[in-house]
């Protein structure tokens, strides 16, 4: 694989290698928490934080971790950052913490995080790893926010909690799980269309 420039490392997470819409990783939080734009944004930012820090930490320690135990070592690193996020959210944004619930601790097993650790941070130096983590995280945040905003708009007539049209005209299905699959499918189709024609 050709060496990517720093800029490319950062930007690839948004469209070209967008974790949810192109790589289809981390579907569990993607479908689970995006019932509103603000939930998607919060989940995305929490994951970005974990992703960036764990990428940095793992690229720093990659040489002192023996190959046979690298997965447990990486998971310990990731779990530590996730717990830090969890405790801080509980302390400073209790409302968001309550609505994201179980999905915060589940960032540990989000395949994006371990996936980037394995496929990127374990092979690259610190700075590109940081950019990769940030880019992937922000790409994840972007797709979750868009997904959440669309579902919120179609389902309850709101955008970021502000009512745009009466809730009764919304279609409940978009707030529930099937709506997540439907909207995600359309978003993936859209991204495929854009990347193919470009």
């Amino acid at each position: 694989m050709a060496q990517l420039s720093n800029k490319q490392n950062f930007l690839k997470g948004f469209i070209k290698e967008n974790p949810t819409l192109v790589l289809l990783l981390g579907m569990c939080p993607t479908l689970g928490v995006t019932s509103s734009a603000i939930n998607g944004l919060g989940m995305g930012l929490a994951t970005t934080f974990v992703l960036a820090l764990s990428n940095v930490a793992i690229s720093l320690i990659k040489n002192i971790v023996p190959d046979n135990v690298r997965i447990p070592a990486y998971i310990v690193v990731i779990a530590t950052f996730v717990t830090i996020v969890e405790l801080s959210m509980q302390a400073y944004t209790p409302g968001l913490y309550n609505s994201l619930g179980i999905f915060i601790p589940l960032i540990v097993v989000n395949c994006i995080v371990l996936g980037r650790a394995e496929s990127f941070a374990a092979k690259n130096s610190v700075f590109p790893s940081l950019l990769d983590g940030l880019g992937m995280g922000l790409g994840f945040t972007m797709s979750l926010t868009v997904l959440g905003a669309l579902r919120e708009l179609l389902g309850s007539g709101k955008a970021f909690g502000i009512t745009l049209y009466p809730e009764n005209y919304g279609s409940l299905i978009f707030v529930l799980a099937p709506g997540a699959f439907i909207v995600l499918g359309f978003l993936i189709a859209l991204v495929n269309h854009l990347t193919k024609s470009a």
């Binding site: 040489n63 002192i64 135990v69 070592a73 310990v76 530590t80 405790l87």
Partner: protein, 196 residues
């Protein structure tokens, strides 16, 4: 730097090292966030109490008592103004929700009439059962001004006085179950204060 070999000693040392470091970091973060977490929890409870029984000047949390009901213990927060009881807030619950536990704070005045309520915790279906946050304050579903002794606090489908949330009868029944429990707690609280 060359990668460490996967020998037994190396693996043990590295993993123990990492877990120890992780434990130390988490310990310090836990210490840092302990007070804010506690404060956030308290603030939420305080807000719920002042929402459901407005106008008190004591600290109801300090005077919290626990009342045993048919299904577990509920917390009762007496609201007083100038030392006189003006109402109580009951942190009631039910396990009959569509997805289990529902916690509500119910405010009752000294005659047991419902002043207001606040849903503290629920896992009901978004868009259906989750409407309980507002539903029981509107139209025929309004429980404010009703009294657990004088009104039949069940959904109209079961012959009661409260209209259930459209398409969420189970959640509505659960909610009213929690409300009735707060009424029962009110009765035993008043009884216990009279005995004193």
């Amino acid at each position: 730097m060359k990668k460490l070999e996967s020998t037994f000693i190396n693996m043990v040392v590295v993993l123990v090292g990492f877990t120890a470091m992780a434990a130390a970091m988490l310990g310090s973060v836990y210490e840092l966030t302990k007070t804010p977490i506690e404060n956030a929890r308290m603030a939420k409870q305080q807000k719920a109490i002042s929402d459901v029984v407005p106008g008190f000047d004591n600290n109801p949390v300090d005077e919290k008592t626990e009342i045993k009901t048919d299904e577990g213990v509920v917390a009762v927060f007496p609201a007083k103004k100038g030392g006189v009881l003006i109402g109580i807030a009951v942190e009631s619950f039910t396990n009959k929700g569509f997805s289990g536990l529902v916690k509500v704070m119910v405010g009752l005045d000294t005659t047991g009439t419902i002043i207001n309520y606040a849903v503290l915790e629920h896992k009901e279906t978004p868009g259906l059962g989750s409407k309980m946050n507002d539903w029981f304050r509107t139209g025929k579903g309004d429980i404010r001004g009703k009294n657990c002794n004088k009104n039949k606090m069940t959904v109209s489908k079961d012959g009661g006085d409260v209209d259930a949330i459209t398409a969420a009868t189970i959640s509505s029944r659960a909610f009213l179950d929690a409300v009735r429990r707060s009424g029962a707690a009110f009765e035993s609280y008043i009884k216990s204060t009279k005995e004193k």
